[in-house]
């Protein structure tokens, strides 16, 4: 993948899978091998529990992550004990997770590890900072797109999206779903001032007035929004949802007479649990969505095989995706098939 060198321009990178079995781990392993060749000081962690030895859903073999000498990693005590390499412990986080304390260590030999890591965005940010303070130039987060994960991978500067036949064996479907996620990832970020203000808000539905000040609308849950539509716009049409954005919310907003002027702000794209249809209906009115935290999508990786045995034609699929997304797309099984120009 020719973009590996470009990735070194970023201080942090997340790899997220559109679905299970989209080749996220294969992609990460490839990246680590290349980063080792480039002698980049790398630190790796994961969100919540990841890196199980076998995939919990389909029981297909899930390769562990191979680290190289000098790389740093952060994982739970439980997985640290199962590591297959020699490593030196550099730090232990006092806070406990369900898998014990989080251990940050440096690989003294190459070998395999299972990754688990911070379960909240705050701790993930701290871990990335810790890596940087230890001299890491690129911190990599093995991310997850899941309702179950509280930590958001968008705290990283750059992002790679893994997609593949597991998402849909039908190439048109696959392109549509991947394109839609890319669109969400690419939603514009709010201004720095607004970002600082909204970052301190932990819950609820807020309105931002013309002077850029946030006001709590005191609606306990966005699910109750239908009962409060008359007071929803008392501070203007810019709204901030601190939690999940649902189809229902978008549909209610889209049905308002002033829908075209609505500017909805979400925390980041992982908080948008919205179907492509509801998203389309909403944006068709002229209403917009922005995010507080955006991560730059640098590439898309494709796994042409699905755990059910489907196999896409790699070259065709990559080309079709790349044309549709206007982004480089790589086959994770043959990552170097695209020649470096």
């Amino acid at each position: 993948m020719p973009f590996v060198k470009d990735i070194l321009n970023y201080r942090s990178l997340a790899i997220v899978g559109l679905d299970k079995n989209t080749g996220k781990t294969v992609c990460l392993n490839y990246l680590l091998r290349r980063l080792n060749q480039l002698k980049a000081t790398t630190g790796v962690t994961s969100i919540g529990v990841d890196g199980e030895q076998t995939d919990a859903v389909f029981a297909t073999a899930k390769p562990e992550i191979t680290l190289y000498e000098g790389m740093m990693f952060n994982t739970s005590e439980l997985h640290y004990r199962k590591r297959q390499l020699l490593s030196e412990i550099l730090a232990v986080d006092e806070q406990r997770t369900s898998l014990g304390q989080l251990v940050t260590a440096k690989a003294l030999t190459c070998g395999k590890v299972l990754l688990s890591g911070a379960a909240t965005t705050e701790r993930l940010k701290k871990q990335i900072q810790l890596f940087h303070s230890m001299g890491v130039s690129l911190a990599i987060v093995d991310g997850a797109l899941s309702r179950l994960s509280l930590a958001s991978p968008t705290v990283t500067e750059a992002m790679i999206l893994a997609t593949g036949a597991a998402v849909s064996p039908n190439i048109k479907n696959l392109i549509a779903r991947t394109k839609y996620t890319c669109r969400l990832i690419g939603l514009p970020e709010v201004s720095r001032e607004l970002k600082q203000q909204l970052n301190t808000i932990e819950s609820g539905l807020w309105a931002i007035d013309d002077n850029g000040l946030a006001h709590d609308l005191n609606i306990a849950s966005v699910f109750l929004i239908g009962e409060h539509t008359e007071s929803l716009f008392r501070y203007g049409t810019t709204l901030f949802v601190s939690g999940a954005v649902s189809d229902r919310l978008l549909r209610i907003l889209a049905s308002q007479p002033n829908a075209g002027r609505i500017r909805l702000i979400a925390r980041d794209f992982t908080k948008l649990f919205v179907s492509p249809e509801a998203f389309a209906d909403y944006t068709r009115t002229g209403a917009t969505i922005e995010v507080i935290q955006q991560s730059r999508l640098v590439a898309v990786c494709l796994n042409p095989t699905s755990p059910k045995g489907y196999r896409l034609n790699s070259e065709e699929a990559c080309k079709a995706l790349s044309d549709a997304l206007e982004l480089p797309v790589y086959d994770v099984m043959r990552p170097d098939s695209v020649k470096i120009p």
């Binding site: 091998r33 490593s87 412990i89 070998g111």
Partner: protein, 478 residues
């Protein structure tokens, strides 16, 4: 009694604890388990230690060492679980050994900083050079840890081969015929390595056991250092004062930190109070809104701070040592919920009477018997005063009853001062025209300002006028 228990019933004390900038979980734990001190020499030691810490905190030439010590406290982890394992001869694993090494490293650095600050005598941090050396066979001097080759010479060849096999495996594809044998060899080597490592962990745990007591002491003393520095900071920031221990109590310019902050936020003035009391009863009278309840709460918080070994929010303080504070203050959370306000109050009062036969308490009772008929209510207060007068426990009682016929010490809140009024009064600014200071009061009458205050608060005029007429009639009858 420990601090953790006391803050449950004293919101003012909770506020103080919340403002202590404790760095470590060990410090927080040590703070909350602090005992209520009654021995004068224990208290004096605590006050001396704070004095020393305050001096060090203020000394600009020692800033570097001071910051260093605080930084070490931030790095401190609570290893009580690990040390318990050590005590019970459970073998420590690599993560626990790292934590132990890191701990000894932190303590040794904190010890150096403490010596530079001249706090070594107070903090008494033990020298953990030996346990650190056990965990640092290569003399790296840093806290990082793994099972070093130098622990067992058999590790070197295993790891040497492991390194080359790992590199080989990383370069092989899974379909390569050498892949499986290489992976198998690695797994064998890892097993051999783990066996040696486990033996080393056992051996290190045995050797560390000899240092167990020292490690535990170090953790306790680090916790104490954390509290002491936080107390010194608070003492400076809040301008706290060292209490003198005496026979009776005297607070000059007593402040309630929680209320002061609330007032400052609301742009209201805050008036510190001078108050003195001794064994026997001190009766406090004053109009409504004159701050009698707040006064009792402020005294309770200051007394508690002093007896938990802290400086107090006054400009001068003499404290008399008591075994506990016993409060019956109306609006506090009542565990006896379900009882009427009179019932729960009278049970509390009766308990205070019983408890003071065995221990010396600071008894604070806010407007006793105010929720029952005034004839019996007054009788209850009169009897309470007469019983508590003879007890060797300082007792403060606020009341609106007059003619109680007692010779006890009496103080009156000066209250609403007409001459201070220069703008129209309303419920929001009334606080500006109340003088909260206490004056000795010889008379057996209480101020009758309820109707005036009711009228200022914008109370229904019919009610106020009618009530004023009733007062005149009643006085005429008397």
């Amino acid at each position: 009694m420990i601090l953790k228990e006391k803050i449950k019933t004293d919101a003012g004390l909770q506020y103080v604890v919340d403002h202590l900038e404790i760095m470590s979980s060990v410090g927080r734990r040590t703070l909350l388990s602090r005992p209520w001190l009654t021995n004068p020499s224990d208290l004096e030691t605590e006050y001396d230690n704070i004095a020393a810490a305050v001096e060090v905190t203020k000394d600009e030439t020692k800033r570097h060492a001071y910051n260093d010590l605080r930084h070490r406290l931030m790095e401190l982890h609570d290893l009580s679980g690990t040390f318990n394992n050590l005590a019970s001869h459970t073998v420590l694993d690599e993560v626990e050994l790292f934590e132990t090494k890191s701990f000894t490293h932190v303590v040794n650095q904190a010890r150096r900083a403490a010596a530079e600050l001249g706090l070594d005598d107070i903090l008494q941090l033990p020298d953990l050079g030996e346990p650190f050396a056990l965990l640092d066979p290569d003399h790296t001097g840093i806290a990082n840890f793994y099972i070093y080759d130098s622990y067992d010479e058999r590790l070197t060849p295993i790891r040497h081969e492991l390194r080359s096999q790992q590199s080989l495996l990383a370069s092989l594809s899974q379909n390569d015929e050498n892949y499986t044998p290489t992976a198998q060899r690695i797994s064998d080597l890892l097993a051999a390595q783990n066996e040696l490592q486990n033996a080393i962990c056992r051996d290190l745990s045995d050797k560390l056991f000899a240092h167990h007591d020292k490690l535990v002491t170090a953790m306790e003393q680090m916790g104490y250092a954390d509290i002491l520095l936080a107390e010194a900071e608070l003492t400076i920031n809040w301008n706290l004062c060292r209490p003198t221990i005496g026979e009776s109590s005297e607070f000059a310019m007593l402040v309630n930190p929680r209320l002061r902050e609330r007032n400052e936020k609301a742009g209201l003035r805050y008036q510190p109070i001078d108050v003195a009391f001794s064994d026997g009863v001190t009766l406090i009278t004053g109009a409504n809104m004159a701050g009698k309840t707040v006064l009792l709460k402020s005294i309770a918080t200051a007394q508690a701070m002093a007896q938990f070994g802290m400086y107090v929010p006054t400009s001068k303080a003499v404290i008399t040592i008591v075994d506990d504070i016993y409060c019956s203050i109306g609006d506090e959370q009542d565990e006896m919920n379900g009882l009427s306000s009179f019932a729960s109050e009278i049970i509390k009062i009766s308990r205070a009477i019983e408890l003071t036969t065995q221990s010396r308490l600071l008894v604070l009772i806010d407007e006793p018997a105010r929720t029952t008929n005034p004839i019996e209510g007054k009788a209850i207060v009169q009897s309470l005063i007469s019983i508590m007068e003879s007890r060797p426990s300082p007792t403060m009682i606020t009341t609106h009853y007059s003619q109680l016929g007692s010779n006890c010490n009496r103080l009156r809140v000066r209250g609403f001062v007409e001459s201070m009024v220069n703008v129209p009064i309303n419920p929001q600014n009334i606080n500006r025209f109340i003088d909260y200071s206490l004056i000795p009061d010889q008379s057996d009458e209480v101020p009758q300002e309820a109707l005036r205050i009711a009228s200022i608060l914008g109370c229904n005029t019919d009610l106020v006028e009618l009530a004023s007429r009733c007062v005149c009639q009643n006085e005429g009858l008397d």
